[in-house]
């Protein structure tokens, strides 16, 4: 099971700068997985692009970034890595518009699967409007993607370890905002004691947080940035 704190792992920039092509490719895959949804939604909401243009540009952006290695030029002293990515996207979108009047189709990203249909469903479900602050919006979507991944990982871990009931409780209590059910009601429904409900939920929440931290670690530019993000998101002081 994931522990409360993630194992030591290099920052995304350190991994992207590795000579080992496989390692570099894996690092880029992690980066794309963590950022493609915020990038896509940013293009849809802030740039008011059509779904097709936003999909093309998202693919093109990551392809270009991988081939030309310009995300590796990140300088930690200037901004957070997340902000750097967002600014790069903005520049890329502006250049694309100036170059052809429309987003050009990029090379396919084979590192991870980009489920644009699902992302577009989310865009519609959220009824995204042009954000007042692009940076806040990008951060919000980054956190949504991060938490979504952590929930998926937590579910997988609970399944792997034969604790599906634990996850079902988590779904019912924490992931269903319309359902204000009590621990007592859950205990009756699942044939557990209230203490068991408390402990099971606690375990899944800890697992969720651990996976969120692991994912966060892989998406921050530096250790300092990771510590800052962890403090802001989870109230954690990480040594």
């Amino acid at each position: 099971m994931a522990s409360a704190f993630p194992p030591t792992r290099h920052s995304v920039i350190e991994r992207l700068r590795k000579d080992d092509a496989a390692e570099r490719s894996a690092a880029f895959g992690d980066l794309v997985e963590g950022y493609w949804q915020p990038v896509y939604k940013h293009l849809r909401a802030t740039w008011r692009m059509t779904p097709e243009d936003a999909q093309d540009l998202t693919q093109a952006f990551f392809s270009d970034a991988f081939q030309k290695a310009w995300l590796e030029k990140y300088e930690p002293g200037k901004a957070r890595f997340r902000t750097f990515v967002r600014v790069c996207v903005d520049r890329f979108a502006m250049n694309s518009r100036q170059a052809s009047g429309r987003a050009k189709r990029g090379g396919d990203i084979r590192l991870v699967s980009l489920d644009f249909d699902r992302a577009e469903q989310e865009v519609r479900a959220l009824a995204l409007s042009a954000p007042a602050d692009a940076e806040d919006f990008f951060r919000h979507e980054f956190v949504r993607s991060l938490f979504g991944r952590a929930v998926t990982e937590a579910r997988a871990e609970m399944e792997r370890t034969g604790r599906l009931v634990h996850f079902r409780l988590f779904e019912r209590y924490d992931l269903d905002p319309d359902d204000h059910t009590s621990y007592a009601a859950l205990a009756a429904e699942f044939g557990l004691t209230e203490s068991q409900v408390t402990n099971y939920l606690s375990l899944v929440r800890r697992t969720f947080r651990a996976h969120a931290l692991i994912a966060l670690r892989g998406l921050c530019g530096t250790d300092d940035e990771y510590r800052r993000e962890a403090r802001e998101l989870f109230g954690l002081e990480i040594e």
Binding site: D115, F147, R149, V151, D174, P177, R205, F208, R209, L233
Partner: protein
């Protein structure tokens, strides 16, 4: 990997859950967050060893910081005040990240404003107030001044128990936070607002403000208005000297007696006499009417 879609509501929920303190290796498990203040957050928790629900207050501050000192002081003060109107402390400890926490009884009930939404009887309100005064007076007798008495810091338990909460800025004799204004405006004594030294009479002032709030401010009966006014006198020496003296005056009002804070006119005294002895007066009047009627009819027959 298919990423789970999370709505904004779920994100907020998970964000809150993710910031809950980590009690790994300790005997407590967090159930939910109850509230959050300047000093820290209070959680509903489970004591895994005893299998009972507790309330856990966790410091916001880093170890050694001022906020932590306050939380520590609060726990120690509560531990010295064993009274039915003051929440007992069960345990004090540190989280793995170094933050201080203390564990207290979990109070199930409502804050005073919530509770009063369903209470119209002035007598019941005053009964609650007297019990608040009892707890505060007990603290004063042990050298502790609360310094943040207000309706939100009073809880009414499921069985009608009245509890004075949030002793986070309480001070013991000889300690204090001179030059720092702590408290709640509207309920805070003027000397406290000026960051001067305070004593038990600062709490008497706050109790007067609570009484005024309870009785609806200017709409309160005149004797109660006078009691509040005396408790809230600008000069500490003009206030009731103790919470007990204040409570006793309220009890006198409730019993239908004259109160120390208010000199009655003849009309008021007569009115109070009539209200206090209404039943006896009605009975005597009825008896007299019957006697008169009986005398009249017997005279008419003869």
């Amino acid at each position: 990997m298919t990423v789970t879609f999370l709505s904004d509501d779920v994100m907020s929920r998970l964000q809150a859950v993710a910031t809950w303190p980590n009690f790994d290796g300790l005997r407590y498990t967090i159930i939910d967050e109850i509230g959050r203040g300047g000093m820290g957050a209070v959680y509903r928790g489970l004591d895994d060893v005893l299998g009972r629900e507790v309330a856990i207050k966790v410091s916001n501050g880093v170890p050694g910081a001022e906020l932590e000192r306050r939380l520590n002081d609060e726990a120690r003060i509560l531990a010295t005040l064993e009274h039915p109107g003051i929440v007992p402390v069960h345990d004090v400890g540190r989280l793995a990240d170094g933050r201080l926490f203390y564990v207290m009884k979990r109070v199930r009930g409502a804050t005073l404003p919530e509770h009063l939404a369903g209470v119209t009887s002035l007598s019941e309100k005053l009964g609650i107030f007297e019990r608040v005064c009892d707890a505060v007076n007990f603290a004063h007798a042990h050298g502790v001044v609360h310094r943040d008495l207000k309706p939100d810091n009073i809880m009414i338990g499921e069985f009608g128990e009245v509890l004075v909460m949030d002793w986070g800025i309480a001070q013991t004799a000889g300690s204090g936070d001179r030059d720092i204004v702590l408290g709640t405006r509207g309920f805070m004594a003027p000397e406290q607002e000026r960051a001067e030294s305070t004593d038990a009479r600062a709490d008497v002032y706050s109790l007067g403000a609570v009484l005024s709030w309870l009785c609806g401010g200017s709409g309160a009966p005149r004797p109660l208005g006078a009691i509040s006014a005396r408790a809230m006198a600008a000069e500490p020496s003009s206030r009731y000297s103790t919470a007990l003296a204040l409570s006793s005056d309220v009890a006198r009002f409730r019993a239908g007696h004259a109160v120390d804070a208010h000199r009655e006119s003849l009309l008021e005294r007569t009115g109070r006499f009539a209200r206090t002895y209404r039943t006896a007066i009605i009975l005597v009047a009825a008896y007299l009417v019957m006697r008169i009627l009986a005398a009249y009819f017997s005279g008419a027959r003869s």
